[in-house]
Subunit: 314 residues, 4 copies
């Protein structure tokens, strides 16, 4: 059994030493340390890694980190909500998001055309320009294909972008599929709808995409999940592995607690009752804001894996 | 400015008196009282009422209450996730869900074929029988229509059910559309996928459904939202009203707090920065488990509205 | 094993029927139903009932409910923080607390001399008048006794008050001791300090009070705890029973979750590892705002106990 | 207005670069960056720094970090609960605390004599040996002084310890007072009580200690607070500055949210309504587990201050 050790600062302390220290400090630091270790193990074991996150994380600076992780070969399948797709495209086409505070004056922001997401802001202008961008892209894609799966659509868009910090760009260039179980739930939906008004034979086939999700892995393959936040993206990933035997490794990082029976707060233990995560899996649930906890756990894992030569270009 | 009043028990105390008392007690009791009053106001004002909830609430006994609310004319549009649709169909076809504890032994549950959702259980057997039920239903529906919108699909299913406590049954019989922005994110998705394998011309058109969402209300109409929990169902509802001028009344009940920038924790204030909720709207955010808070707020509202003759059959 | 039942509204629904319904609804409703039942059992079993709460609950309208519970014989020992004592005295001497919102403008409130506690307000004037009141009371008490225990001090004050809705009044008249492990942590502390400046032989003996806490119960007695919120009041109560064999019944209601290792979030399970709660005890932890959950659980228990003739004057 | 920047990993990344990155990432990362900056500012400004924490943080490895911070001259006044004092003494006299999981089997732990605090364990044996240690210490102290203030008592104990990683040791040797508004709320209370049984003239004078708290700072002095978690230690610190004009700098790190009106969740904004924190103060509230957030914010501040030559021995 591990013992509690006194945490200490040393001048010039590196992140990996810090996370190692937290692992013997207590409470969520311990769970964070465990999460980092599970990530190391899933990679060493050549597991297929599913990463899921909610759209607000793409609004944040994690977006560039996600893109980097794809480039480093740390992610094999991505599942997210459509807001994240939108915001990645905005950023890739030059939009900037601003930082404010959680208790900004919302009526004043409205008057200024600024939309608040926690302590971040996306302007109406960014959305307006996104409309133009996306509409043109849909036109191009329609020329190639009339009945398209969401993951194909995102891949086509990724190939049209020119930003190495873009999630869609890196996913498209590294053959990492992006699944999105609710593609109409955002401005993207508006624009698909307007486009379909003039092109009735344009069909986004979510059922076909489900088939790709199912076949993107197999019963025999080792599988790991890193679920950041909750919602349909988390649920969709764990659903898929149900008929493929469940995950061998699981890391959930969520700010929600399990006491309301929500998917967002569902723990890796609960997942075991379903067979979503194997009963003998290495699995850990960390409670906290993923924008802080995830990069801590992942960057320390990258340091370890880099030393072992297990990451691409790393 | 209201003052704090001492809460007191009286033998045989009725729920509406209790909620009125909480409104002068403090903290979330005050917000709960405000939420109840906003519900009363939106109904008095003949606003179109959008109700959104996550699937775990349908797993709970709120399912029957939701059905009752439709019957009483308290809801005009429903948006939920597909898990809730599944569980409503299960219950309507005789399945029973069990009550356990939040710290049940999940490995043991797995061995018994019981799947845990918080402190509730759904058996593997229920899912197996659901497969048969749904597959037959899809066969019937396919005969009528090949390219179908999710809301049409749910309506067809609702008409095939025979349970007055069913959400889908009451929605179908009362012309309340049910929208679901992520119809493949559940066992439902599996079965649609298997069905499409043998019927490639069977298309579930989510983009068309978005159009129905858009046109189910208008700029001129007064609109209210009751959002229970977060996720895509909450987001989808508030998105729709963006181009229709925003909500006039808003009640959010969520166990998530706003500090991670998630949609689940997003407040009615944040919604104002977007124009999702009008800047002068009557809006309140209650922090807590909706299975307790929502029926308290709503039943007290029903008592008031019933006295005023404003609810159907009530 | 219990099953989930559909919750339904009936016109004129009573609180006890509602809580019984929640017990079969799911999530925190289930735990609330269990909490109510544990309260019924501890009373039926003639257990000595310890009730603990944080000061913010006395600021709220729960204050009058606490006083009523003492009068009804539902509480044998009270442990709280000194802020609650202060606010009970203020209310008993005519002060009024106001209701505002959680996001009131705090700088503006400061300028108006209003102090915010969540969505409640206590004015500077109330504190100023409290100073006069308390200083006079301390003068009277000093004449009688120089070395006094906190619980004696509160009893003396309770006897000087003239308000049946006062916690201190009812406790003094019903021989319910009020313990407070941090008597100087509030305005009360200031006034004790000023008083001692002129009366150096005035000693508040907290160590002696600890002895009374220890002997207010015994190993053989059946014991129950109702802990609302966390902090030192919760900890002090469970500490005391450690050497008296632990609690036989436990109800914790807290808005804090256990993931940071804090006392506020500590569960009844964790308490079992310490022997603070017996391993076979009837114990339940409800997660949520006690201002809503506690009166629901307790009032339903009062209805049951009243029918059984088990409460005084009830 | 700051903009969101893409967070990136670089091999060998240092903690201070990481925290600087989080400050432009979003959500709690932004608040964490702000907290770190406020700590830097309060030190640069030579403010008197009050640090408060709950006892569970001393159970964790933060204990050694707190001791280090005293040694580095980063803390001028400490306020905590008595459990932390106990656990510091245990660790200083050779006890070890173990790491387990949040859902360990509590009945089994009880049988093994292990007491759980979140995912940490303290054994019965450690408590038994603590009794011997403390009783001897009280005997020595009693010879010197019969009427003693809690802060004096802790200082005397600190001088008897021989562990540079001890909070009490470093505080005693660096003239940092430790205040504890609830000295009897723990095993410490038991032992004081037993000691007083045989030494009735032994008095722990908490009222006198309050006077020291009051005079440990002044109206004219610049003051900063770092409050980790909530409870009486947080409240006691902010109370003291009320009559000394309030804090000029404030950093609150808490896992509790403000929606129940509790002190633990009270924000720096709420403090402004009271004048506990000045209306123009640099103040920030970070929501999350202090065992992770606090060392991140503080260690990055230490890196900056060390470069500027503003810390002792650093």
């Amino acid at each position: 059994m591990d013992i509690v050790k006194d945490l200490k600062w040393k001048k010039g302390i590196k992140l990996d030493r810090f996370v190692a220290g937290l692992a013997n400090t207590g409470y969520q630091g311990v769970e964070l340390g465990r999460a980092s270790e599970v990530i190391v193990k899933m990679k060493r074991d050549k597991a297929k890694i599913f990463m899921t996150f909610t759209s607000n994380m793409v609004t944040s600076g994690l977006r560039g980190f996600f893109a980097q992780l794809i480039k480093l070969g740390m992610v094999d399948v991505i599942i997210t909500t459509v807001g994240g797709i939108e915001e990645d495209i905005m950023r890739a086409t030059g939009e900037k998001f601003m930082i404010t505070s959680f208790n900004a004056d919302d009526v004043e922001l409205y008057e200024k055309g600024m939309n608040r997401i926690g302590n971040l802001l996306v302007s109406n202008d960014s959305y307006a320009r996104f409309e133009d961008t996306l509409t043109k892209m849909l036109g191009e894609i329609y020329k190639k294909k009339k009945r398209i799966k969401p993951s194909e659509l995102f891949r086509e868009i990724g190939l049209m972008l020119n930003d190495k910090d873009s999630l869609l760009y890196q996913a498209a260039h590294n053959n990492v599929p992006i699944f999105c179980p609710a593609i109409t739930d955002g401005a993207f939906g508006f624009h698909l709808f307007f486009f379909q008004q003039n092109h009735d034979d344009f069909i986004v086939d979510i059922v076909k995409d489900f088939s790709d999700m199912l076949t993107c892995t197999s019963y025999d393959e080792r599988k790991g999940i890193i679920a950041l936040g909750g919602g349909v993206s988390k649920h969709y990933a764990i659903l898929i592995t149900l008929i493929n035997g469940g995950f061998d490794y699981g890391v959930y990082i969520t700010s929600q607690t399990p006491y309301d029976g929500s998917m967002s707060g569902a723990t890796t233990d609960e997942a075991k009752s379903w067979g979503k995560i194997k009963d003998n899996a290495d699995a850990v649930t960390v409670i906290g804001d993923a924008t802080v906890y995830f990069p801590l756990a992942m960057m320390r894992a990258l340091e370890v894996l880099s030393r072992e030569g297990l990451i691409k270009n790393g």
